[in-house]
């Protein structure tokens, strides 16, 4: 598992986000495009790619992409 891959996957899923714009320290919920739909997109992506089913609370407990990545690794 590599965080750079995860970031690339996120950028592909978030159509409005430009390539190479997300960083491990990005607070994903502060992105101007962020909506409840994006929360579902993240849950779906993580489920498809990593076979980890995040809950709404899991997402809320994470600040940055790096936090999210650490949580996925822990839950795998």
């Amino acid at each position: 598992m590599d965080i750079n891959n995860f970031i690339k996957e996120l950028e592909e899923e978030f159509e409005e986000v430009e390539a190479n714009s997300l960083k491990p320290e990005t607070s994903f919920r502060d992105l101007p495009e962020w909506s409840s739909m994006h929360a579902l997109i993240v849950i779906a992506l993580v489920d498809i790619q990593y076979d980890v089913l995040l809950t709404g609370n899991d997402l809320r407990s994470c600040e940055t992409i790096s936090d999210l990545f650490t949580l996925i690794k822990k839950k795998r």
Binding site: A39, I43, A44, D47, L53
Partner: protein
Amino acid sequence: MSAVIKAISYYLPEKTLSNEQLCAIFPNLIPDDIVKMTGIKKRHISAPDEIASDIAYAAGEQFFEEHPIEKAAIDFLIFISDALDYKGPTTACILQDRLGLPKTAGVLDSLAGCAGFVYGLSMAKALIESRQAKNVLLLTADMPTKVVHPEDYELRMIFSDGGAATLVSASENESGIGDFVFGTDGSGAKNLMTHYSGARQPITKEWLEKHKDADGMKHGMMKMNGSEIFIFTLKVVLPMVKELLQKAKMEMGDIDLFVFHQANGFLLNVLRRKMKIPEEKFYVYLENCGNTVSASIPIALKEAMKEGKAKKGDKILLASFGIGYSWAGTIITL
């Protein structure tokens, strides 16, 4: 003796609600975004005096017009809906009379939502294989738009009224409807519920007054926690599909077509990707009619047959899931 799906017809109310119309009501929405999120371009809206059993009746009449099947041959009628006519009598009794079905026929109502069609197939198969009936007419119809609040754009984007008539008949030499997998988790009931629609919450004067701008919401009001429903679906559908394949001693590649409950485009696409099902084997019919609850699978099946994507002899995996929580699946040979 096996039970086989012989024919399907469906009916959609005439009035429609397009994305453009929705966006005119809700300026925060954009037509292209609605298509991207839901896969839906229009929904069908029943007339104010048209209820679920009227939709089922229209689907039934359509069925006998389209197929050379005598009404006299029907010996059992099952009506499946989230919206029955009365607390009594059974709505299927009224439908037997309206459709002119034989007085010798047995009838049954079943209150069920998104998983309703697969449940109906299971009942029809049970009746046939136990030699209690030979030709079961399964009517699945719903009117979700009547319980969606006019200001609830998330639900208005998805739901559509519609009904289907499916004939399940006894056969000596076809494999037909296979084994079933069921699942229930009532702890999720609160996440998708029609409030003020029955004995637990009878409609009050205050309720009607509170919603007077929405015709009193007199049929009740559906509330959905979308993200909870989404997570529930991701949790249960793949294990159900795996169990169905195991029971049938099949692999993913043996299935000719996957037809899931047409909940919404975003969810279906996530499920398809998760299960690595190729797009051409995963049938989606949402653009023209949205989520029609218990009618969604037969409508999609009928369209798949018309398009030649579902052919005689094909193995088709049906998976339904939703309100309850309730889920059910089967593999049919067309």
